[in-house]
């Protein structure tokens, strides 16, 4: 039990990130509603970014912006994950915009958001 708490304490952010990833993944796979799928996708992405950002953190150091003129690596956290996550956030907003645009078009055509039903209706129509 002690061991468990120790592990939990050491990896809390990562574990939360994995749980969030699971929630997002499940939403993306299981929900039929397209909007829900996109929300799940966003949750999944942010979970990965949380995981990535938690790698950069070092206990007791500050944000990677020059303060008091000290340029020692001992004082600041690792800036690499922050940069990667910045890129990731922009990718995920672009992806969700495109997906939402697709959703609007599909709704205009089929008047439903249920992706299974849309698939069925699509099979019913000719080219």
């Amino acid at each position: 039990m002690e061991n468990f708490w120790q592990v939990m304490n050491q990896h809390l952010d990562e574990i939360v990130a994995v749980i969030l990833f699971g929630v997002g993944f499940t939403t993306l796979l299981l929900h039929r509603n397209l909007i829900k799928k996109i929300l799940g996708l966003n949750i999944m992405d942010t979970a990965v970014y949380l995981f990535l950002a938690s790698l950069g953190y070092v206990e007791g150091r500050t944000a990677p912006i020059l303060t008091d003129g000290i340029t020692s690596a001992e004082k600041y956290i690792n800036p690499v994950p922050s940069g990667l996550v910045l890129t990731g956030i922009v990718v995920s907003v672009s992806v969700s915009a495109l997906m939402l645009a697709l959703t609007i078009r599909l709704y205009r055509r089929y008047h439903t958001l249920d992706f299974d039903q849309i698939t069925l209706m699509m099979k019913g129509e000719d080219d």
């Binding site: 809390l12 994995v18 206990e59 912006i65 340029t71 020692s72 690596a73 690792n78 940069g83 956030i89």
Partner: protein, 336 residues
């Protein structure tokens, strides 16, 4: 071999010859002979009527067929493939469970959170921090890293935004008529927009009048100070975009159209991207060929410092602002 069923070999040969169903031809033959008869015997008038009836019958047949297929599909959905869907759900849950399990075991085995001597706190991040100011001139090490050390990734990221905006235009932009008059779809969208969006809402307009300049200024501040403080082109651009969206929501397209036409937004998002590509091409080319870059870095901490980072941030800011505004306008009305 009975007569009733085609012998399997024949059916195979038939399939090989490209026939989907060996019975197809026979059915068609019957239909065509009946048509032939009709044409031969009947007079012109009758033939016309016949044709009309034929047309009707065909339409009806088509509708029947369509509803038939829909019915088959719905049958498949409700009874036939019900277990298939259950199977899919179970498989999905199992897959998610497996992925979470594997990730958990992995995560627990990873180096501990927040420790100093983790493998990723190595010479890479050390140089970004210790050499960052002499090499890039940026006080914000993250900005220095993404816009100078690893600038190629960031250029890719701006391109992702560009692709997404092109994709949204592809999907949602309504076409003008070639004659210059708005098309029916556009008029409908305009009507829809007027009908559903707030119009002349006093509180909103007052708030927007007050807030929009502040928001835009704040966004521009974030962009300009990207190399000095947290933020940068992306966050500042998003803030500016949000300010524009607020203005658009309060005052409608009539007001924004005076400046933000479709052409204008395209230019504002493409030109900075080209500038970005130009600047980065210059620094990539000189870097790879070991030619000194020759961009003055300035005094660290001053606003006009850190070489290309400030103009790059401004470019990114404009790209992001325009992309966000384009997204919103296209989602709302399919045009500007």
């Amino acid at each position: 071999m009975t007569n009733r069923n085609d012998p399997p070999k024949n059916r195979f040969v038939g399939w090989l010859m490209g026939e989907e169903n060996p019975l197809d031809d026979e059915l068609e033959l019957i239909v065509s002979t009946s048509q032939q008869e009709g044409r031969d015997v009947l007079s012109l008038e009758e033939a016309e009527r016949q044709e009309e009836a034929e047309e009707l019958r065909r339409e009806k047949l088509a509708i029947d067929e369509k509803s038939q297929s829909v019915r088959i599909h719905s049958w498949a959905k409700h009874q036939g493939a019900h277990w298939l869907e259950t199977l899919y759900r179970i498989a999905a849950v199992v897959l998610c469970g497996a992925i979470i399990f594997f990730l958990m075991t992995t995560v627990v085995a990873l180096p501990p959170f927040g420790a100093e001597n983790n493998p990723y706190n190595n010479e890479v991040s050390q140089r970004y921090i210790e050499q960052g100011i002499p090499e890039t001139g940026a006080v914000n090490f993250v900005a220095g890293m993404i816009l100078d050390y690893r600038a190629f990734d960031t250029f890719g990221e701006s391109t992702v935004l560009f692709v997404a905006s092109c994709g949204v235009i592809f999907l949602l932009k309504l076409n003008d008529h070639s004659s210059g008059k708005p098309s029916r779809a556009m008029l409908e969208a305009e009507y829809d927009d007027r009908h559903h969006e707030p119009k002349n809402d006093g509180i909103l307009q007052f708030a927007a009048k007050l807030l929009t300049p502040v928001i835009l200024l704040f966004g521009f501040y974030i962009v300009l100070n990207g190399h000095l403080s947290p933020g940068g082109g992306f966050s500042g651009g998003a803030v500016m975009g949000a300010g524009l969206i607020l203005y658009l929501t309060a005052f409608g397209f009539e007001d924004t159209r005076r400046f933000f036409t479709y052409k204008m937004t395209r230019w504002i998002s493409c030109l900075p991207l080209l500038c970005y590509a130009g600047m980065k091409s210059y620094s990539f080319f000189t870097g790879a060929n070991h030619i000194p870059g020759g961009v003055p870095l300035g005094t660290p901490g001053a606003i006009l410092s850190s070489g290309f980072i400030l103009p790059l941030n401004i470019c990114v800011g404009f790209i992001v602002m325009c992309t966000m505004y384009t997204f919103y306008a296209l989602f709302r009305k399919g045009g500007m």
